[in-house]
Symmetry: C2
């Protein structure tokens, strides 16, 4: 969203993975110079605009994507079309189910996104040889599992209003983990429909809950996507 909407689809851009500022926190931070050089010869930095699919549900996986910028949503769909978003991935997460030949879900750019695409076998060989990398990916899997279970509580036991508050909280925290103070300003990286699909609600219910949070002075919204959280503490108190 903070990204001029050029009409680019999956455009390669000539930048190496190693030059990315998020690298030390992500996968690449576990690699030594030789490995980075090796990797850079096999990876491509790609841009996807909002809505583009990175990997389809039940399709073969031939590469993993390291998120450099933007937000990727993971979703699953029932036969009749009902959809559930089962995870959001922010930089510097690695997108893709390790070791699976078939993706258990769809990965799609929620906002405009920049990723570093690594061939599947390439990464898996690297994991074999590099314990630090292996540990990082293990930690990511465990963290994602924690988050998935946390979200199960939200889906199963919270009211619509608590669900919406919880999502705003989640995004506020993920988009700017180091921010201080009680206020937050950010752009939602997803549409109302995405939000509804994440929360297990309809867009109408989501909209009503946003209106209520506005009326109660906890947030203000401009241009549909631009959110100002007046008080994280008050928002937290609505999360159930």
């Amino acid at each position: 969203m903070d990204f001029s909407r050029r009409d680019i689809h999956s455009t390669e851009i000539p930048v190496l993975c190693r030059s990315c500022e998020v690298r030390h926190k992500g996968m690449c931070g576990a690699l030594n110079p030789d490995e980075l050089t090796l990797l850079s010869r096999h990876t491509r930095q790609l841009q996807h605009s909002s809505g583009e699919e990175l990997v389809g549900e039940s399709t073969d996986v031939e590469a993993y994507d390291n998120v450099m910028r933007g937000v990727v949503k993971l979703s699953k769909t029932l036969e009749d079309g009902r959809q559930q978003i089962v995870g959001l991935q922010f930089a510097p997460d690695l997108v893709g189910r390790l070791y699976a030949t078939e993706s258990p879900m769809t990965a799609e750019a929620a906002s405009d996104v920049e990723v570093c695409r690594v061939p599947k076998v390439m990464l898996e060989r690297l994991i074999e040889r590099n314990p630090a990398l292996r540990k990082r990916l293990m930690d990511q899997a465990l963290r994602e599992l924690d988050e998935a279970r946390e979200w199960m509580v939200t889906l199963g036991r919270k009211t619509a209003s608590e669900k919406v508050a919880s999502l705003l909280m989640l995004i506020a925290v993920h988009l700017d983990p180091d921010a201080r103070g009680d206020r937050r300003i950010f752009d939602l990286p997803m549409s109302r429909l995405d939000i509804a699909d994440y929360l297990g609600l309809t867009i109408e219910t989501v909209s009503r809950q946003f209106s209520r949070l506005k009326k109660d002075g906890i947030i203000s919204i401009t241009a549909n996507r631009h959110i100002e959280v007046q008080s994280l503490a008050k928002l937290q108190s609505r999360c159930g």
Copy 2:
């Protein structure tokens, strides 16, 4: 449930981990004879009766539990007491959040349970040295993540009736993965309240859905817990 309800609480029984029949599929299957011997000197086989807590939410973890028999439920609770079950673990799963000092959830015996308890540091050292073990635990984490996401779809997007059918399906498959044919007979390893907490429903709704499945001839229930699935295919068709 298939276990006489003696009043035993966390009783030690003098059997080594290596002697268990499930070992080749679980963690211990990745160990060589030396490691097994080493392990057997530091582990204890324990029995827990239904309802006993193995690990409390937000408490320190000092050991992991390898499930040998029975079902362990993982749950999280909101401040006001609303509870959500976020996972079920069957033999030969390892219970416990790897590498965390504090457990993100409660682990509790859903049925009477037998576990092999391994000290935390002991197992973590073993993981360092044994790539096969590491891979198994990585695979378990990834599988649990898949299951958690699968369940998010159920929680977020399925109707009460589909939720109940999905749970019966899940249990039928897990309790007897190798069974053939279209019928299944098993004992529910959990109470109606547990089921409700797993599905994000109330016990009344769960009960009504069971009654409906009975009326429609898809299952029959005796003694509250004993389930006969007349047709897995029909049950599947109700899973959404």
